[in-house]
């Protein structure tokens, strides 16, 4: 098959509007191009961009249809009975999309995984990627699905069991932390007898799969527009979801349409953020933006005047204090240098390796040392002349510069940026030796810490999530599109930028941990005031009562179901977290700070459950250093006692670091 012009995702452009400005086609021009790439009077080609200009493919090779037909009705694939058109299927859930005739799915988006073996994944093109991407962690959503279920005791092991779609690894070879099969999550119907685990399943099903690449996503608000399959990332959408195409028959008025009909590997960060503003908020943190909190925002914050991701103007905070010249939440140093997400995350990181994982850090391969080397060795190409990351994957955008220095060729702007090598940075100062050197006992921080454990400027953490599942009204499943009792909502209590707890990551090194899902769950059912005591909406036509009131989950082995998992904040800085964030000061004035770092109670985030039992959300371990919360990530743990003991030896100077006072908790 020849590869030229796969008209991904914008088949609706073909469907909308009559052909205008067409001229008699010269030999060899399809009828598609006659309408969508009309010739100017001087014979030049204008209009629709060629989607894949590096290789020659015809429109119908990807989209189907008939490129020889003269009439639109004959050349386009007809809208199936019962469907209104492409906009409708761009809002469908994965299961609903399965019911659409494949010929029409292909017409709208040839890169959808249901048909991508006929387009992007066809033999001789991207078949290797097409074989793994449909089972990657970004596609299965297994990372989001299984941890909440572990925290509520629905799952007894850390291995993933459910996903947004059935997925089986036919070549499963027992890879560590991977599983052979994932099954589609379907929450049981909820009623007054539902268990807490049932309610969590409904919460997951309705809230999480917005970013599941087996569908287009809801495409229902600014900042969230995207396609499905390969085009979900490689076809760029503006935040307003509107096309800027020069195709005279393009719909420029209504979303969701890509900016242009062009597949690209130069994927801008904004496209990644269309999904990655949730979860650990990597997409927003990378550009130096955090979310606002319900409680205790500092005075004089500066916020973006933009409605985005379903949030109003003023929700995304980009300045903690507008009265000074300090950027307290700077963008990642790589972002400031002009690098994008795709400069580091490509290949296996995003397309997967065919294994079915339960967490992103099991799939993501890139490490800081892959570009910056170690304290002993600079990076170098292998015998074949290519650079490889820690897992042996080729890093295609690394080269040796003309002066022999490794450079990264940016996928965004093509610029060659020299890669600073740690081995060249020995400053020889006492501070540098203490942090990057090796002491007389042989200890070095570099042996046991991830680089970003120290080189992180700030993190967004949201302790105290209050989730309500209200069965007086219905929620829509993002997996199969059905409506069922139980609409999910919630709020977060605090958002802080100075929570830096440590734990053991999957690589066996100390890493930053986030207070993921420190959740209090409420479930409300309809209530009959004549026979029951109603507590919600008592004076409304729709009264209710709580069957669960701000309940803390418990894991199957009885631990608190408060999430505590590894995070890479993507706010990398040249500077470091102050030493007295982790080490006791010589003057002993930072016990509380170090306690919080170690997961001991700092008293900063105190919230009661519905029965009045108070929980300190900073507490992860007991007095013996044993975890009291469930750790849903495989291969992770709390700070080992011997390491904690080292950190508690008074040894560092007072940097002046204090923890922000977040004030008392107030019920939502």
């Amino acid at each position: 098959m020849r590869c030229y012009l796969p008209l991904t995702a914008v088949a609706c452009l073909l469907l909308l509007g009559a052909c205008s400005g067409s001229k008699t086609p010269p030999d060899g021009r399809s009828s598609c191009r006659r309408c969508h790439q009309p010739l100017s009077d001087d014979g030049g080609v204008g209009g629709l961009l060629e989607s894949h200009p590096t290789t020659v493919i015809s429109c119908v090779d990807c989209h189907g249809g008939d490129g020889t037909a003269e009439a639109k009705i004959d050349s386009h694939v007809a809208v199936p009975d019962g469907l209104s058109g492409p906009t409708e299927i761009r809002g469908m859930s994965s299961v609903e999309l399965d019911t659409v005739p494949l010929e029409y799915v292909r017409w709208v988006n040839p890169s959808d995984y249901r048909v991508s073996d006929l387009s992007c994944g066809t033999m001789g093109c991207h078949e290797a990627i097409n074989a793994t991407a449909p089972s990657s962690i970004m596609t299965t959503m297994a990372g989001h699905f299984n941890k909440p279920r572990y925290y509520v005791g629905r799952q007894t092991t850390r291995f993933p069991e459910v996903a947004a779609r059935d997925q089986r690894d036919e070549s499963f070879d027992g890879a560590p932390s991977a599983v052979e099969q994932l099954t589609t999550l379907h929450a049981p119907a909820l009623d007054a007898d539902s268990s807490l685990a049932d309610i969590v399943d409904k919460y997951i099903e309705d809230g999480c799969p917005r970013c599941h690449v087996w569908n287009f996503g809801p495409n229902d608000k600014a900042g969230d527009f995207r396609s499905s399959g390969c085009a979900g990332c490689h076809m760029v959408y503006a935040n307003d979801g509107l096309s800027r195409s020069a195709d005279p028959n393009a719909n420029l008025d209504d979303p969701p349409h890509p900016i242009n009909h062009r597949l690209t590997s130069a994927i801008p960060d904004s496209q990644c953020e269309h999904c990655h503003y949730r979860g650990n908020r990597i997409g927003t943190m990378y550009r130096g933006v955090r979310e606002a909190a319900r409680l205790a925002e500092p005075p004089n914050i500066g916020a973006l005047d933009e409605s985005l991701h379903g949030r109003p103007s003023g929700f995304f905070v980009d300045d903690e204090d507008t009265t000074n010249d300090v950027d307290e939440t700077p963008a990642d140093i790589h972002q400031q240098a002009g690098m994008g997400c795709v400069d580091c995350h490509s290949g296996v990181d995003v397309h997967g390796d065919g294994n079915l994982y339960g967490a992103h850090d099991e799939q993501v391969a890139i490490e800081c040392i892959d570009c910056h080397g170690t304290e002993d060795t600079a990076i170098a190409p292998d015998d074949g002349g290519v650079f490889r990351n820690s897992r042996g994957e080729i890093m295609r955008n690394l080269r040796l510069g003309t002066d022999g220095v490794p450079v990264m060729i940016s996928r965004l702007d093509g610029e060659a940026r020299p890669l600073a090598q740690l081995v060249d940075l020995d400053l020889g100062t006492p501070e540098y030796v203490a942090t990057h050197g090796r002491d007389s006992t042989g200890f070095s921080h570099l042996d046991s810490l991830e680089c970003y454990t120290c080189h992180t400027a700030w993190t967004q953490s949201c302790p105290g999530c209050h989730v309500t599942v209200d069965m007086r009204t219905e929620g829509r499943s993002l997996i199969d599109g059905t409506l069922a009792a139980g609409r999910t909502g919630g709020s977060r209590s605090w958002v802080v930028t100075d929570y830096f707890a440590l734990g053991m990551g999957v690589d066996g090194q100390l890493t930053l941990m986030a207070p993921q899902e420190k959740m209090f769950l409420t479930a409300i059912v309809p209530c009959n005031p004549a026979t029951e005591t109603c507590t919600e909406g008592v004076d409304t036509p729709n009264p209710g009562r709580r069957i669960f009131d701000q309940v803390v989950r418990r894991t199957a082995d009885g631990k608190l179901g408060f999430g505590f998992g590894p995070v890479v904040p993507h706010t990398t800085s040249v500077g470091s977290v102050p030493c007295d964030r982790c080490h006791l000061r010589e003057d002993g004035t930072n016990t509380n700070i170090v306690n919080e770092t170690l997961g001991r109670a700092s008293g900063r985030f105190l919230i009661p459950d519905g029965e009045g039992t108070m929980y300190d959300l900073s507490q992860v371990v007991d007095d013996a250093g044993e975890p009291i919360v469930g750790l849903a990530h495989q291969g992770t743990g709390v700070v080992p006692p011997d390491v904690a003991a080292r950190m508690l030896v008074p040894r560092v100077a007072n940097s002046g670091l204090t923890l922000r006072d977040v004030g008392p908790w107030v019920a939502p």
């Binding site: 608000k221 008025d253 606002a292 005047d305 409605s307 103007s313 709020s491 909406g537």
Partner: protein
């Protein structure tokens, strides 16, 4: 929820914006061109595509997946200079305020003054679709099935102001 501008302050910004004319801004004949139509605003509904809205219609109270409640602010206008579509912070973009008020006049939803370019559709319609109007409530019970007034006020660079309002019933979305 952060609402940085009161309505009063918003209105003062309208005045300031309307009086400013130096630096940038629309073509000199833009105001004359806009003035050829009778200024008007027509509230609608929808988060991505404009749909008509009439008095008495139901409007969804939407809840974000992790907190907050809002309705969608959607409007079509005539006789206004629309601003510059792809320059969100262009000083010639109109100032917009959506509000929700209960029948006793209490403001329960407010965008504050926001600067927004308007979209000029290929059929000549000018619109703003899917603006989030935050509701200052802790639960849908606070406003569910109540009749409220949804209003909009837009002032363009030329100083022309259009307003519209609808009495609608708020209902929980599914």
């Amino acid at each position: 929820m952060i609402l940085r501008f009161s309505l009063v302050f918003s209105l003062s910004l309208f005045g300031l914006t309307a009086c400013s004319g130096g630096g940038g801004g629309p073509p000199t004949d833009a105001c004359e061109a806009a003035a050829t139509e009778t200024p008007s605003a027509t509230l609608g509904m929808g988060s991505t595509i404009y749909a008509p809205l009439s008095d008495g219609d139901d409007v969804d109270i939407n809840q974000g997946a992790q907190g907050g409640f809002h309705v969608w602010g959607t409007v079509r206008v005539t006789g206004l200079y629309p601003g510059v579509r792809d320059r969100r912070m262009d000083p010639s973009n109109p100032d917009v305020v959506f509000q929700v008020a209960t029948m006793d006049g209490t403001i329960v939803g407010d965008t504050g003054s926001i600067v927004r370019p308007l979209k000029v559709r290929s059929d000549g319609q000018v619109e703003l679709v899917g603006e989030i109007v935050p509701l200052m409530i802790g639960s849908t019970d606070d406003l569910a099935f109540q009749t409220v007034t949804l209003s909009v006020s837009i002032t363009d660079f030329c100083g022309t102001t259009v307003m519209d309002s609808r009495s609608v019933r708020l209902v929980p979305s599914t």
